[in-house]
Subunit: 251 residues, 2 copies
């Protein structure tokens, strides 16, 4: 297998590895394309692979017994889906699925555990990433209880924008409603408010962020709290592709 150039890798964890550790894992990574709606792990099933996200973002969903899924976190190029295997988990407690098109590097769980024995920096990064993701979930728990949909929608759009890197997202209100656990019509009202304020624009499955700062004002503190945790781990621009350099794109 031809060697990848580490600096062409966008995933922040892989990009942060010392060259020697990257060389160890490189040959075991399989580039995969993720299509919209594709499921990476199913709730209750064994975790067979870990996915280091390169582009797009992944939703982590808890499935309630009435069949309703509810999103508890988002994973983009700053993280990895299925990383809980390094805590000793064998089965996934959640459903992880791609909400956009995207790409990732896949590695089998056994191979990853093997690599980790000789890659302490990778192990530490995965542990710390797992912790920050946990903080994200904890903040979401509080957010779901305390903040109204207007704030939660703005927060979600910011998180999605960070992780996708583009201002125009292909997202229906239906999809967002499922993620946030509310009616589609309720999303329509909240989105309408943001639209009237000139912050976003909706056009049949396409949502454009017009005013990033305005969106931050509309969001609850939860966005910023979690972003701060990610900055502590990855530096000033945690969601930006490592290979691009420069400040995160602003609109």
């Amino acid at each position: 297998m031809p060697h990848r150039l580490q600096k062409s890798v966008r995933n922040r964890i892989l990009a942060a590895l010392p060259a020697a550790e990257f060389a160890l894992i490189d040959g075991k990574l399989h580039r995969v394309e993720l299509s919209l709606g594709e499921s990476l792990h199913r709730a209750g099933e064994p975790i067979e692979s870990v996915f280091f996200v390169e582009s797009g973002f992944i939703s982590v969903l808890t499935m309630l017994s009435d069949g309703a899924p509810l999103e508890i976190g988002l994973i983009g190029a700053e993280g990895a889906a299925g990383a809980s295997v390094i805590l000793g988990a064998t089965n996934s407690y959640s459903e992880t699925m791609c909400q956009t098109g995207g790409g990732a590097y896949r590695i089998g769980v056994a191979a990853l555990k093997d690599v980790i024995l000789h890659a302490p920096r990778l192990r530490d990064l995965l542990l710390r990433y797992t912790h920050v993701f946990h903080v994200q979930v904890a903040q979401t728990a509080a957010c779901n209880a305390h903040h109204d949909l207007g704030q939660r929608l703005a927060r979600w759009l910011l998180a999605a924008h960070d992780r996708s890197g583009v201002a125009q997202l292909s997202l229906t209100q239906d999809l967002i409603a499922v993620m946030l656990g509310v009616r589609r019509s309720t999303v329509s009202i909240a989105a309408g408010t943001l639209q009237k304020a000139g912050v976003i624009r909706y056009q049949h499955g396409r949502i454009t962020i017009l005013d990033r700062v305005g969106l931050e004002d509309a969001a609850c503190e939860c966005y910023e709290s979690v972003a701060t945790e990610y900055r502590a781990l990855f530096g000033e621009h945690p969601f930006e592709s490592a290979s691009e350099g420069g400040p995160a794109p602003r609109i």
Copy 2:
């Protein structure tokens, strides 16, 4: 320092250690008594100690910017507060405080990290416990969004009952309201419903669980989902004191 008898230790993690590993950590544990309302870690502050809970239970709270705390998880004798240090966290993202009287074994973070280098089983147990706690938080995020207060209250009482081990709890509606992030008067209504159904009894700061099975029926699935995860880690009776043996107390 005189050696403790490992079999007199109630904490499930410490009790599950091989004797050789327990001997390593034993001398570094400090028995502490926890009083009601005592704070073990403060949000944003460095984590200086990890607490292996022996009795009573600990609330883990996210502090929102309006000053309102919201509980995201409970820790009893099955776990440890501050365990996220083993993921590389240096500061606490949450407030942890004791909601009952209780006891714990405290160990300094540096000492714990030192022990862990030579205690792989302890390390694995802490990692797996951290994962299960994460699952608990994730379930709470979904629960806060989807389930009404009647279900959430029943779930919370079950969790508190599991971890305290006694049917009579010293808990005001005010305290429970803060934990669940609702008005005290709303708790009064939900508790009144449970009381009329003969499931619990309230007597000025003292709540008695009269019908454990009825409480389980009133709770959402979230209780059982999380309990299943804890069973996978600690066996059939995850919250029971390890030294007591026999089935968990039923009322």
